[in-house]
Symmetry: C2
Subunit: 396 residues, 2 copies
């Protein structure tokens, strides 16, 4: 039985370059870890109880472990289930969640078919990962899990992947599939490459429960993180957008003017590749002279994204405001509103950053001063967490 109180964290992600080109051409987006993290607190639970609290989406559920064990048996067609499913299926990280598995979990948790609210999907992913991981590696654990995040949900910042990565790491560790690398007295520890690969595989299955057909980029970034470290402002315009509608619009434009639009996608893809090479050649903490080329890529790609039709007046405003402070910005993610990122070269004065933030807030935007190139999934002793995170976990 699990006896330690620990925390697991995983970073969000931002797309630096290549949004849309990914969806449309199967090309690679350049996604990087964002140092806004999701924290999972893991505590021994009352014997025979598995509890989960997700205050960000208003979920607080608790199940008895014998009931979960019976459900698991019913789904796999093994164990002591009274009425196994007609086509019992094993849980395995090599297989995507099946329709039958998810239907059985929905029925058990009282989630309507087709429910797509974050709280429904988060609960479903939790149940899927608990049963699947415990079925493969051990018994359904008695645990008390609390997840809290610095990431806004639904903003294209990989919050669901960070959640799935934290859950996968915690559950795999509790079930003994991976080690507990944190020695007594240490504040943080990470897992081995092999263990990270297993965490990533299961996190991807969790992402599939939530998103259906995710690319796998977000959970990889949440698991491994990325270097080098770049300071950024992340600004949420708070303009809601539909990724589906935006992608459809881009597709339509490409069909309408292929000779005009396809070269733009080629150029975007070249930016992703060039930027990746530039980042790989950079030291872990780049100095000011490394920034102009990154800023140039931002400017070019922002124009390209406008050409694709995924700009928005709020994003134009964001770029203008930051340009007035000599800072370079681009939208990140689907566009049409949502979030923008602004590079903060190390020689930017704190006054300039503060002034830019104030101007952005005056537009009604929400602004985080943070970093990209954060560490991937990490295990923490609870005492080593920042006061802010401890406070958030205690309040929840």
């Amino acid at each position: 039985m699990w006896a330690r109180e620990l925390a697991v964290s995983a970073p969000g992600k931002v797309i630096l370059h290549g949004e849309h080109a990914v969806v449309l051409l199967g090309k690679v987006a350049l996604a990087v870890a964002l140092d806004l993290r999701t924290f999972l607190r893991l505590r021994p639970g009352a014997e025979g109880r598995l509890s989960v609290a997700l205050p960000g989406v208003g979920v607080r559920r608790s199940w008895d472990t014998p009931g979960l064990r019976a459900l698991r048996g019913r789904i796999t067609g093994k164990g002591r289930a009274v009425e196994p499913l007609p086509r019992g299926t094993d849980f395995d990280e090599s297989k995507p969640p099946s329709v039958e598995q998810l239907d059985a979990l929905r029925e058990f948790a009282g989630i309507a078919a087709g429910a797509s609210a974050p709280e429904s999907l988060a609960t479903l992913a939790f149940l899927y990962m608990c049963l699947a991981i415990s079925a493969k590696y051990g018994d359904v654990p008695s645990l008390d899990i609390l997840v809290w995040s610095e990431l806004p949900t639904g903003a294209g910042l990989g919050s669901s992947a960070a959640y799935a990565v934290c859950l996968a790491a915690a559950l795999l560790m509790v079930c003994g599939a991976i080690s507990c690398p944190l020695r007594e007295g240490e504040s943080t520890a990470r897992w081995t490459e092999e263990e990270l690969a297993l965490i990533n595989s299961w996190a991807f299955r969790g992402e599939q429960v939530i998103h259906g057909n995710p690319s796998g980029v977000d959970n990889a970034v949440g698991t491994w993180g990325r270097v080098p470290t770049l300071r950024i402002l992340l600004t949420n315009t708070k303009v809601p957008r539909s990724t589906k509608v935006l992608v459809a619009g881009v597709k339509e434009k490409i069909l309408k003017f292929p000779a005009i639009m396809n070269p733009v996608l080629d150029s975007i893809d070249a930016i992703s590749q060039e930027c990746q090479s530039v980042l790989e050649a950079m030291p872990a903490n780049p100095s000011p002279e490394h920034y102009p080329v990154l800023e140039e890529f931002f400017d070019i790609n922002q124009h390209h994204l406008n050409v694709l039709g995924v700009g928005h007046p709020s994003l134009d405003r964001l770029c203008q405001v930051t340009a007035s402070h000599c800072l370079h910005s681009k939208l990140t993610g689907a566009g049409g509103g949502g979030c923008g990122i602004t590079l903060l070269p190390p020689d930017t004065s704190p006054q300039a950053v503060e002034a830019a933030k104030q101007d952005l807030c005056a537009c009604g935007f929400e602004c985080w001063e943070t970093k990209i190139g954060a560490p991937g999934v990490t295990l923490h002793s609870c005492s080593s967490l920042s006061a802010q995170v401890l406070h958030a976990l205690a309040r929840s």
Copy 2:
């Protein structure tokens, strides 16, 4: 001897799409006639005098025709010249002006070698065209020529080509190389296709005197004009720019990031071609539903030109101001300041146009409400000219 008082006019040009792609890739720019015109008034001169007045560039010169005849003989190595040039050369529209010809003309007119001021180049082109056309088709005429233009000079609007086209048409007509198509009582007339081709050839030679290595697009537009007719605002930001510096900057960017930049040039070229097809398929007076695609091309190309690095804050401002009136703009020509064009769909209210003009003027810009798709070189009876043009000619 020429006995009638007539006027010749030719339109300026704007580049709708393809600026820079032309220079860099030898691709075709989509240039269209601009209904800001250059007017040449042609009067019989005092016997034995050839006079030219170009009030826009401060030129007022007069020569005796025997002196010009002797100069012509010296240059061609024929005639009664006392000291023919060492390598006498014929004038012909199939040959570019030679260094020796231009040196002899400069010496005669008192223009320093390498002088590049508009008044020097305009005088040189005038002398070259007079001598060359008269050498091939007739005698040096006794004429009084006055040229006045609605076009600003040096703004990339083809003012030198419109000047050369007017001169070529007037001189070819006076020397009998082309007809005088204006019957008594008619107000305007145009020449035949064959005559227009001859006017265009000679106008190109005049452009070579002024520009060295022109593309020939401007004189072709000045000669033939283009349909369909589109109402536009033409706005001069009055920000001075160096085409040479801008072109060098674009070249440098392409060398630095070929995989990113070359696709952008391909896209620009595709826009020129698509736009040309769209214009060719349009009626002479397009209705509102023809405009959205033209507006989309404007927006895309304006972003591309920014990616090439030839944008300017003044042009961003211009685009923003017109966008706030739901109008679409792009820079035209070299960029980095200079002129922008704004499409005015036929359903734009006069109030909206007026408001946009006022806002643009408030930015310190100069603004013309005009048309593209104007008629090419045209012969006018002087009495048929507008009061404004008559007034300008009379004042000069």
